[in-house]
Structure formats: C-alpha cells, structure tokens
C-alpha cells in the first residue's frame, strides 16, 4: 500500500518506526527468554545462589526503558504533527481551492457514504476529487458511528452523530483508491465500502456540473410525473 498524500506519507514513515520499535521489543524479550530457558535448564542440581537484585539495577533498567519510551514518544509526536499539517493546493490543482481547501460534506449512513459537493451536487459511494488539491471532508453521521478510511489517501476518522470530524488530504496522482468503513456498524458493515476517484481539475469540474444537471433532470422528471398524476 503506497501513500498518495503528504499526510499518509508521514503516517507511513511512523508506521515503519513503530514496526522497528515493536521488533526491538519482541526480539529482545524473546531472545533473552529463550537464552535463559536453554542456558539454565536443569532438572536436578544444587539449589542455586539466592541472589536478589538491588535498587541500582532496577533504576538503570528503568532508565533505559524510560529512554526507549521517550524516543518513541518524541518520534511519534514529530510525525503525528507533520501528518496533521494542512497541505496547500499545488500548481496542478483546482484553481478555486488555492486559498481554502475544497470542502466536501461527507455523510456516513447505514451502510453507504454520501458526498455533497460545494455546487450542490452529490454522489453516493464514489467520491470524485481533483488531483493536487487540498480536500477537506466534513464527516458527519445520520445514524451510528462510522469510520471513513481510505488508507492510501488520508488518516481514518470517525463520523459520529452530532459531531463534525475532519479529514484533510491532497492526492498526488490520478487514479482510483478503495476504502472501507472501519467501525462496526451493524448488518451490512462489511459491504460499506467507498471509492475515491482522483481526476484532473477539469474532469472534476465537468463531473460535478454533469452530476448536478443529472440530479436536476431526475428531479424534474419525478416532479413532472407527480404533476401528471402518474406517481401517487
């Protein structure tokens, strides 16, 4: 899985740091454990010396552990802070989003994601965003807690009813990225997937315009049918 946004880039680095930290801990403990068990195994033999460790040893070991924890903490603070930085729209991005991020209201509902674009168009399941543009998703939920998660593009965030959460990302290349809701939300949870299509700014503009026109046409048709009395 390759990162495709400045934020996920930082997350990826920190993920590797976390992997190394975990590996150090696991290898050190299991190595020492296996060594001790093999080296000092004996069914019989005299009672060994009844050694107890003093406070000094504990303080030294504690200092080493504290140092390790501090290093991990500082590295996570640094990279988490970098991952939170809001990137600015690049030169290839959408001109309208140069000063402020492109805001798209994202609604989680059992078991579908709805995206509301600034011009009033909306889409279900598929989110279309322009490349190299800072996009801010305002996450809300109309029913239970959902988590919007497209790991290649953005950090995952919960959509909680009654609160607004924010996801910011800037896709660095065109393409399709898959995502899946990541908080258990009931029956069709596993099927609550989403897809982000990153396209050029021109295609994005065309898409939202077309989408809006299509929605309007569909609405007009329904209203027309109701007026004609064909739909009760």
């Amino acid at each position: 899985m390759a990162p495709h946004s400045p934020g996920t880039d930082q997350i990826d680095t920190l993920l590797w740091i976390g992997f190394v930290a975990a590996a150090i801990v696991i290898v050190a403990i299991n190595g020492a454990l296996i060594y001790a068990l093999r080296r000092y195994r004996s069914e019989r033999g005299d009672e060994p010396r009844q050694i107890r460790g003093g406070r000094g040893t504990q303080l030294r070991v504690g200092a080493v552990l504290t140092g390790f924890a501090a290093i991990v903490l500082v590295l996570s603070l640094i990279f988490t802070d970098k991952a939170r930085e809001i990137p600015t729209t690049g030169s290839a991005g959408l001109a309208a989003a140069k000063s402020a991020p492109l805001k798209i209201e994202t609604t989680g509902q059992q078991w579908l994601w709805r995206y509301d674009y600034p011009n009033g168009a909306f889409s279900y399941y598929k989110l279309v965003v322009p490349v190299d543009t800072t996009v801010e998703l305002d996450l809300i939920s109309t029913d239970v807690i959902h988590t919007w998660d497209v790991p290649e593009l953005a950090p995952k965030r919960d959509a909680v009813p009654g609160k607004t959460n924010h996801v910011v990302f800037r896709a660095d290349e065109e393409g399709t990225f898959d995502g899946q809701s990541a908080t258990f939300s009931g029956q069709a949870y596993a099927a609550m997937r989403t897809e982000v299509d990153v396209v050029s700014p021109a295609e994005y503009e065309a898409f939202v315009k077309q989408q809006k026109a299509d929605i309007q046409a569909a609405q007009d048709r329904v209203v027309g049918l109701i007026e004609k009395g064909e739909v009760p």
């Binding site: 997350i11 993920l15 801990v25 060994p48």
Partner: protein, 559 residues
C-alpha cells in the same frame, strides 16, 4: 506463637451430595473452584464461536454464515471471552488463592463473595438463554448509538446489557470481599512487603475492578434506561452524547485488559521463582510495576478513540500514558528473566506455559507500542492488525497465563497433578496455533487495511491467503486449548496424587493440605520473610538434622 489451644477439625461428615455442598458453599475455595471451572467451560464456548467466525472468513465472499449470524457470534464471542471467561478466571484464581497465600482462614465477607459467584452465573445464564432472547448483534463493545433501540430493536442488546451487568456486579462484589480480606485477615507477620506477588496483584486488581467495574455498571444502566425508558444518555441531538458510551466502556475494557495482564504476570512471578529455585529478582520493582500498570494503563483508555472527534491533546495524553507503560511492563519482564538467570530451571508445564505467556504478551504489547502512536492508529485502528495485537496480549495473558496458573495450582485445587505429556503437547500446539492465526492477521491488517469485525472480505483485496492461513491456525489453536481442558478433566479423577507442597513452593497456600480443609490451616506460622513456606521447609530440615544428630550422640557409648 500464642499458647492458646487450637481447635483442630479433621473433616465434617457430609449431609448432602458433594456437588450441592460445593455450589451452595460460601467458602472461598468452593466459590473459587466453581468460578474457575465455569470460566474454563466458557473458554470452550468462546472458542467454538471464534472458530465459526474464522470458518466464515476462511475464503473471500463466503456465505457460510449470514451477516446477522456472524454479528451474533461476534457479540457472543466478545461477551463470553471477557465477561464469562477471562475475568472470572482471574477472579476465581484470586478468590481461591489469595486468602490462602496471606494465611487467612476464610474471607471477610463470605456471603458477599458467594453472591458474586451467583450473579456471574446468572449473567452467564441470561446471555445464553437463547430460547428467550435473540443474541446481541452490536459487536464486541456495543458502541452507542448502534446499541440504541432505534438501530437494534430486538431484545439482544438488552440481554447483553443485563448479562454483562449482572456479571460485572458479581465481580465487583468479589473484589470488595478480596479487598477487605487482604486488608484485615493477613496472618501475623504477613506485612504488605511480604505478601506474595499474586496476593498483591489480587489487591491491585480488586481495587481496579471496583473503579472500572462501577463505571461499566453505570454505563450499562444508562444504556438500559435509554433502551427501555426513553432515556437520552447516548442519543445524539437531545442532550445525549454517543461518545459518552465510548469513554465509559473503554475505561472498563482498558482496565480489564490491564487486569488480565496483571493477573497473568503475577501468576508468572509466582511460578518462575519456584521453578528456578531462586527468589524473585526484585520483589518491590515487580509489585510497584503491577500497581503502576493498573493506574497508568487504565488512564490510557482513549487509546481506543484516536480516530474519534476528540481534541488532539487528549490523543497525546492517551499516547503518553500508553507509552509510559513500557517502563512497568519492561521492568516486570526484566525481573522475570533475571530470576531465571543463574537458577536451576525445572522445565515442567507451569514454567513452559509461563514462558509462553511472556513471549505471547511481548508480541502483543510490542505491536501495541505502534498502535499507541497517534498517527499510526490513524492507519491501523480497527484493522485486523489491532485484532491480532489484542489477541496476542490477552490470549497470552488469559489462556497461556491462565493455563500456567492452572497447571501450577491444580495440585492445590484438587489434590492431583495434571498430566505432563498432555501439558507439553497442548503448549506446543498452542504456540503454533497462535502464530499461525494471528501473524497473518498482522499482515492483512497492517499491509492491506483489512477491517476487524466484518462478516466478510472481498476477493481481490489481497488478503485471501492470510485469512485462509489464519483460519487453519485457529483450528490448531483450538486443538491446543482442548488438549489442556481434556487434561484438566481427566486429571480430576485420574491425576497422580499430590502432596501439600507439590512444587516446593514459597507461599503459604502450600502449607495447607491439598485440597485445603474448609478452615484452610490448623496452625499458622509466624511469617518472617516473603518466602514463609521456604522458611518452614528449612526449619523442618534443620530440626530433623538436629534430631538425627542428637539421636546419634545419645547412641554413643559413654566415654
């Protein structure tokens, strides 16, 4: 020693069938025995539910279980594994052993403890009264608002809430009794600095449970009010807050996570010195660390909410608390290994399981280090990577640690020993099963972002191989667990007879008979060190040497 005469009773005549005596007894040993037995039974049931879920997830797009059935299995598995297996196993062991270890002749509030057992069994009955209730479909932690009436309108969540509420109330009552007993009924000379590590952990865990258990009871009560009496505690929009449930439940679940690890590490800290025939390397560091884990670990509850709409400051707070745990956990593991070094290690099943538990817990907690880094959680939260980390830590603690304790204390509980061969076979099968099941899940979650708790995954998402291996591993794991359960059942009647001090233990439970008399001890020694049983053995050896010497002198002809 007091010179007062002691009344010594050598068994009461039984008036009722044995099993009625046991289940109606308020004696801490009978209550503890029933709890441990019931907990191991529910381990088997949880295992069956886990296997059914793994069967469903063996291949992509599987339709073996319907989504609803899968979600019911998931919810039952979570409730069974935590409320009906892990917690009662820990508490049952504490309740049986801690009074013996501190030289008490019973508990301070026996009827309160008995009520605790019955509430736990009542909770278990409610959860599995499937003919009256449909099981919950709300997941392992039934997060509001999904668990509200508007989204799950059948009575499954109510059954879950009542059953976990009853069980939690029972655990809190037992914890209260343990606190009172350990505070007031220690033998003469049994100062806190000499209390066995496991009894110390019993006190720490009891206090922890009194705090987090009551928080959970409050949350469950609020959920029941929401569902049945038009409450709005967790409902959005009318003054309620969905995140309130998240906070309250995660405080409990995080505290429980810590309690399981505290229990396992404390049992291991009893086992390792006995099997290495050396004292614990530094007792104060271990007891202090156990206390620190209880406090700091529980304060890290928001580690489960790093993707929720809470301020970044709270996330950093959770991360600092989680990473601070490296120090106490590291110190305990260091002291355990330092105790082994220079010893003469008898590689019997208890030590094997104890070492396995340390190894599995180290893998789980090692992975948890990365999960507690805020930005990493933004990637790995709720993936199967998190599932794997939690299972390494908690199966390492509750199953490996629990089995270590079971093998170690089985002679005391039953007067018989568990089979060594089956113990070894079970251990190696379990190790293979753990690695086969959960290492692939680390990869599918960490590398491909497979989400946890989902009833299926789609083909083409790159996680099919991992899940197939994990499903096969789950069956290996199951064989390992079943081997030990069979071993325990078979050894109840057929195990070799064990003496009162089967392993050459250090603490006072080995001074009582196996199994102990209802009053625990006929006489109590003055406790003068943190290894009173060893002192007794040495005094006896010294006395018999002197007696032999004097006998030899007396038989000499007078010069």
């Amino acid at each position: 020693m007091s010179a007062n005469p002691e009344v010594v009773v050598d068994g009461f005549p039984r008036r009722r069938p044995h099993w009625i005596e046991v289940v109606t007894s308020a004696d801490h040993k009978d209550v503890g025995r029933v709890m441990i037995g019931a907990a191991l039974g529910f381990l088997f049931i949880a295992l069956v539910e886990f296997l059914l879920m793994r069967l469903q997830l063996a291949i992509p797009d599987n339709s073996l279980l319907t989504p609803v059935t899968f979600n019911r299995m998931l919810s039952l598995y979570g409730a069974t594994a935590i409320f009906l297996f892990a917690l009662p196993l820990c508490l049952g062991l504490y309740y049986y052993l801690a009074p013996l270890q501190v030289g008490a002749r019973g508990t301070a509030l026996p009827r309160v403890g008995q009520l605790g057992l019955w509430l736990y069994l009542a909770g278990a009955t409610v959860l599995y009264a499937g003919f009256l209730f449909t099981p919950s479909e709300a997941g392992v932690n039934p997060l509001a608002p999904l668990s509200e009436l508007a989204f799950l309108s059948n009575n499954g969540v109510d059954a879950w809430a009542v059953s976990s509420g009853l069980a939690t109330l029972g655990f809190v009552l037992i914890a209260i009794n343990l606190v009172a007993t350990l505070r007031r009924m220690r033998a003469p000379g049994m100062a806190w600095r000499r209390v066995p590590v496991f009894a110390w952990a019993a006190a720490v865990s009891s206090w922890l449970l009194i705090v987090v258990g009551t928080v959970m009871l409050a949350a469950i009560t609020m959920l029941l009010i929401d569902r049945n009496f038009d409450g709005i505690f967790f409902a959005d929009g009318s003054g309620g807050a969905p995140l309130l449930w998240a906070h309250m439940s995660w405080i409990f679940y995080t505290g429980t996570y810590m309690l399981i690890l505290i229990t396992a590490l404390a049992a291991i800290a009893e086992i390792v010195p006995v099997f290495a025939r050396k004292p614990l390397f530094n007792r104060n560091a271990v007891t202090g660390s156990l206390l620190a884990i209880a406090v700091i670990g529980t304060l890290a509850w928001m580690q489960n909410m790093l993707t929720a709409p809470i301020g970044i400051g709270w996330m950093y707070f959770a991360m600092i608390m989680s990473l601070a745990l490296i120090v106490p956990f590291g110190l305990i593991v260091f002291n355990l290994i330092a105790t082994m070094i220079g010893g003469t290690l008898r590689m019997r099943a208890p030590l094997l399981f104890a070492a396995g538990a340390v190894s599995m817990i180290s893998i789980g907690l090692g992975a948890e280090i990365s999960h507690s880094m805020v930005a990493v959680a933004w990637r790995l939260h709720n993936t199967t990577d998190a599932t794997a980390a939690t299972h390494f830590a908690l199966v390492g603690g509750a199953v490996f640690g629990g089995f270590a304790a079971l093998h170690y204390w089985f002679p005391k509980l039953t007067g018989r020993t568990m089979g060594e061969f089956l113990g070894r076979a079970s251990f190696w099968t379990l190790v293979a099963g753990m690695l086969l099941t959960f290492v692939p899940l680390f990869i599918s979650g960490g590398d491909h972002g497979q989400v946890a708790d989902a009833y299926k995954y789609f083909s083409g998402t790159g996680v099919s191989t991992e899940n197939l291996i994990a499903s096969i591993g789950a069956f290996v794991l199951a064989i390992g667990i079943i081997l030990t359960l069979v071993n325990a059942i078979a050894s109840l009647g057929n195990g070799g007879r064990a003496g009162h001090d089967h392993w050459g233990g250090n603490s006072l439970e080995w001074f009582a008979l196996s199994p102990p008399e209802p009053h625990n001890f006929d006489v109590l020694p003055d406790v003068r060190s943190d290894r009173p049983m060893r002192d007794i053995r040495e005094a006896v050896a010294h006395r018999s040497r002197r007696a032999a010497k004097e006998a030899a002198r007396e038989s000499q002809p007078v010069a």
